[in-house]
């Protein structure tokens, strides 16, 4: 079979056919992967919540509600329940005080106000410095595990409880990354303030 | 503040060993070799043949074209041969060899020591006499003087600048001349001013020659419109364009003649030759040559007949030292290394410099560290390191835009380079290549 001539009709027909086939094929693949994609996104979020609160059996993502915080923003709050009983809250909080851009953190609370665990969701901090707030990179975030927030004294009476030691708080800052440490505390504090509102 | 050119320049050790040595007249040699091309331009046409008898001062080759100069016999005797003889650089060139017999001068030449102040010749006569006497620039460039005195009609000379800078280390010929022949110089200047119809002349002298400045300053009181400018000692102060800039503050545009800014420059040696040509009818048959070098036993300034062999001159100065490495015709910065001492003094020989082997050795070339010292010292505002880099990678065309033809080859860049890179060598190479490329283009 010889090469098809480059006549106008041929070109249009061929291109159209190829595009049509491609579009059909893609539509098919899209349909086939739609549910798995949804599911994997959902699982990811659920995993993030699971990482920071006690074991639950409900679907916190469906029960998510928003809590307004200072500055006109709001944070997302995911209640975790087991057998219909609240076993904790995961608060998706943030801080704008980071070195470069927004830091998003998931903070899990036990019903009594203890922080259960924390997990950094997104950040753009300096590699090797600020990114040490991630759990797998240093022990910094482990300080927040089981932190008894209501019992922390506010030494300098500035109304802020979760602070680094430099600011009269209790948290050891990451070496050479005080700013990121402060931002992390800021995010946790924001989550705690939101949590207090839930409790009311 | 002393006048000088504003950009670039270096200050090498002056080494003016012979500054205090009065000029000594060298005995007449037994044989002279007189090349017919001792000037820039067309070689002169030989008008004598073998076995002809010639007198001292007799013309033996005639100017052959507008830019050319006449050649005269510097001795009396018999023409031994007219032949191609290797010159100082080793190239064979046409020369007249004369065996000396007696010292019989042409009667037209006034050989007395009397100073003739009165200028009787008019402008045209002056020009003709200069032409007939074969006067060329004695600073080293050897450009025929009468041509320089006839600038293109569109440009009008305004000032005559006399180059007494003698910025090359070691050389003292001009200095001695200024001290010993001050009066003649001033008359020569007057003659040139008349020839050029300018009413201002400035003698530029570097301030490492205070006696010369003082003497000329005192004497110039008797002459109108001749000024002395003391210049800062800086090489290449004697470069034509640099001197004009230093004295007048004007810059000769790239690729133009100095007369574009109204300046005509003549070397002091030339001025003296003009004096002799016009007032004494004496053609250019001798000149003052500094024979110098740190290891020479009797360095000095000598009045030498053109054509005398370098060997004879060196012998008078104490003979060639054991450790001789280089014999240089001219100064250490722009002079040419001779391949043999068996060659004649020409009109352009301002000095013979003997360097020891130690001094002659070039140090090994190290990588360019881009210190920019060559850019700093280049009096023409070029970037020698860049020209060399381009030329090393054979990107010759590019050097044209970088102003390679503005280079006056003063050697300041090679002198200053801490990595001992032969910058000027590569610039010369590129100049040659670009000239070839230009020529090829023209042929197309």
């Amino acid at each position: 079979m010889a090469q098809r001539e480059s006549t106008f009709v041929n070109m249009v027909v061929v291109l159209f056919l190829i595009s049509a086939i491609a579009a059909t094929a893609l539509a098919f693949v899209y349909q086939a992967t739609k549910d798995p994609i949804q599911k994997s996104k959902f699982e990811k979020k659920k995993q993030a919540i699971k990482n920071v609160v006690n074991d639950f059996d409900n679907n916190p993502i469906e029960e998510m509600f928003k809590i307004p915080v200072e500055g006109g923003d709001s944070v997302e709050c995911y209640p975790a329940k087991k057998d219909g009983k609240i076993v904790g809250y995961a608060v998706k909080t943030f801080s704008k005080k980071g070195f470069s851009g927004l830091i998003t953190v998931m903070v899990g609370f036990d019903p009594d106000g203890h922080i259960h665990k924390t997990a950094v969701l997104e950040h753009h901090e300096t590699p090797g410095l600020g990114d040490k707030m991630q759990r797998n990179k240093s022990n910094f975030s482990k300080q927040f595990d089981n932190m008894d927030v209501p019992d922390i004294p506010d030494k300098d009476n500035d109304g802020i409880i979760i602070e680094v030691k430099k600011d009269n708080g209790t948290v050891d800052a990451i070496t050479a990354a005080t700013i990121t440490s402060r931002a992390f505390c800021d995010a946790a504090e924001r989550a705690y303030n939101a949590f207090k509102k839930i409790k009311k | 503040m002393l006048k000088t050119f504003p950009k670039g320049g270096i200050h090498p050790p002056e080494n003016k060993i012979t500054a205090d040595k009065e000029t000594v007249t060298l005995p007449i040699p037994k044989k002279v070799i007189i090349p017919v091309s001792q000037h820039i331009g067309a070689p002169a046409k030989v008008i004598v043949k073998k076995n002809d008898k010639v007198k001292t001062g007799q013309m033996i080759a005639q100017s052959n074209g507008f830019v050319s100069a006449c050649i005269h016999s510097s001795v009396s005797g018999t023409v031994f041969k007219v032949d191609n003889i290797p010159d100082a650089g080793g190239y064979k060139r046409l020369a007249v060899v004369i065996n000396v017999e007696e010292d019989e001068w042409l009667d037209t030449i006034d050989r007395s020591e009397d100073i003739i102040k009165e200028i009787n010749s008019d402008k045209n006569e002056i020009l003709k006499k200069i032409h007939d006497a074969g006067v060329v620039g004695l600073g080293g460039a050897t450009f025929p003087t009468h041509v320089k005195l006839l600038p293109p009609k569109s440009m009008k000379p305004e000032v005559l600048i006399i180059n007494g800078a003698e910025c090359e280390p070691y050389l003292t010929a001009d200095y001695r001349l200024m001290l010993e022949k001050s009066e003649e110089l001033l008359i020569g200047i007057k003659i040139l001013m008349k020839a050029l119809s300018v009413n201002k002349a400035v003698i530029g002298i570097e301030n490492n020659k205070p006696d010369a400045i003082n003497k000329l300053e005192t004497l110039s009181g008797n002459y109108d419109n001749i000024l002395i400018a003391a210049l800062k000692t800086k090489y290449p102060q004697g470069g034509e364009k640099q001197l004009i800039k230093a004295v007048t503050g004007k810059e000769v545009p790239s690729g133009e003649l100095p007369v574009k800014v109204g300046a005509v420059v003549q070397n002091v040696g030339t001025v003296f030759a003009v004096y002799e040509a016009v007032q004494k009818n004496k053609p250019l048959i001798d000149r003052i040559v500094t024979v110098t070098g740190k290891y020479l036993s009797n360095p000095g300034n000598f009045k030498v007949r053109i054509g005398t062999s370098v060997k004879e001159l060196i012998n008078t100065a104490g003979g060639l030292p054991e450790n001789t490495g280089k014999i240089i015709s001219g100064g250490p910065m722009m002079g040419r290394a001779l391949i043999t001492d068996n060659t004649g003094i020409t009109k352009g020989t301002s000095g013979i410099l003997i360097l020891s082997e130690q001094e002659s050795k070039r140090r090994s070339i190290k990588p360019c560290i881009r210190c920019a010292k060559c850019v700093e010292v280049c009096p023409m505002g070029l970037e020698p390191f860049f020209l060399m880099a381009l030329s090393r990678k054979t990107l010759f065309e590019k050097t044209e835009n970088e102003g390679i033809f503005d280079c006056i080859e003063c050697g300041s860049c090679s002198y200053i380079c801490p990595s001992d890179r032969p910058l000027l060598d590569f610039i010369r190479l590129s100049k040659k290549e670009v000239a070839l490329i230009r020529k090829a283009k023209r042929i197309k």
Binding site: K97, S100, T126, G128, L129, D167, T175, A176, I179, R182 | K7, P12, K241, E251, V252, P253, S254, L320, T324, K326, I328, P332, M333, M334, G335, R336, A337, I339, D341, L353, L355, E357, E359, R363, K366, P367, I369, R370, C371, A372, E376, C378, P379, G381, L382, E383, F385, F386, G403, D406, G411, S414, Y415, I416, C417, P418, S419, D420, L424, D425
Partner: protein
């Protein structure tokens, strides 16, 4: 008569050599060396010795066996790179990091390009920035300085402090006023003498200025680069300070703190990586000054001199291409 040597003019050469120039710079660095040892003691000595020795070693090995060229260590440029690298490091840096830094400086930033004269970026600074990005924690913990008389050849105090610029940068981010912050760092006389935290060679403006005067006198460098850098920093920070003294520190603070002095006098003036023409040098200097202030005031790094110089190093070929020296006989347009 032995054979005459024939070569093209010139026949006489200056007494300058690369070696002389490099050792000239080394001499100019002596006061700074003294200050750094005075305040940082044995730590400084360890770093300097490690850095110089490993730089020379890498230079020798890689030129001889990889480039297969004759060794260039005798010209002193590797010693200089090593010393300048050391001056840009904190005095308690582990010695193996110093060796890695020297490796990067000499092998990656210099020998890979062809050795002395061919490199594009300042090797010492490339090494320093490489270390800073790679090991930010170790590179930003600064031991407190204490005069030699106090620590008597012991290692410097383990307590680490912040550099004046670090204090400023961090404080401003948490909303404190510049005036208040400056009162917390050593006063200007202390900064001038070198009694402040920082890299071992960047403290002590006085010693660096002595070196500058020496190099200017010996005509090793010209004034253009240091003056244009320092001038630009002074003017730019002056304007900012004038506009809002609460948010910006005053020019004198900026000039005396951090590595600006060391950078302007010894790093930016590196022959190989700076422009060739005087006007080019001025543009280069102004660029470094502006970038330094921009990075210091708005960037993530409290100190920006190293980056500013490296960035302007990259502009040098363009500067050389378009900013030519004024040619004789070419009219100004």
């Amino acid at each position: 008569m032995s054979k005459l040597i024939v070569s093209l003019s010139p026949h006489q050469f200056g007494s300058n050599s690369v070696k002389k120039l490099m050792f000239g710079v080394l001499i100019a660095l002596l006061p700074t060396l003294f200050v750094s040892v005075w305040y940082f003691g044995l730590g400084a000595i360890t770093i300097i010795v490690t850095s110089v020795l490993s730089s020379v070693f890498f230079e020798y090995v890689f030129t001889r066996f990889l480039l297969k060229k004759p060794s260039t260590i005798s010209d002193g440029s590797a010693i200089l790179t090593g010393l300048l690298l050391a001056f840009n490091l904190p005095s308690n840096l582990p010695f193996w990091l110093v060796i890695i830094g020297a490796f990067f400086a000499i092998v990656v930033a210099k020998i890979s390009f062809g050795g002395i004269g061919s490199n594009i970026f300042n090797p010492a600074l490339a090494g320093r920035v490489f270390l800073l990005i790679s090991w930010p924690v170790q590179m930003t913990s600064w031991p407190e300085p204490s005069p030699l008389s106090k620590h008597l050849l012991g290692y410097t105090d383990v307590t680490t402090g912040a550099t004046p610029l670090g204090v400023l940068s961090e404080g401003l981010r948490s909303g404190e006023s510049a005036t208040k912050l400056i009162s917390r760092v050593p006063d200007y006389l202390q900064l001038f003498m070198g009694n402040a935290g920082g890299s071992i060679g960047e403290v002590g403006a006085a010693a660096i200025l002595i070196g500058l005067v020496y190099m200017l006198m010996k005509k090793i460098i010209s004034w253009h680069i240091p003056v244009s850098i320092l001038g630009t920093v002074a003017i730019f920070t002056g304007i900012l300070w004038f506009a809002n003294p609460d948010k910006f520190a005053d020019p004198l603070f900026h000039l005396l703190s951090g590595g600006i002095m060391l950078g302007a006098v010894f790093m930016a003036t590196d022959y190989v990586t700076s422009p060739m023409s005087k006007r080019g040098m001025l543009i280069y200097g102004v660029g470094i000054g502006l970038l330094t202030v921009v990075i210091r005031v708005w960037g993530a790094f409290p100190e920006g001199v190293s980056f500013a110089i490296l960035i302007m190093n990259a502009f040098v070929p363009l500067i050389n291409m378009y900013i030519k020296p004024k040619r004789f006989g070419k009219n100004k347009r």
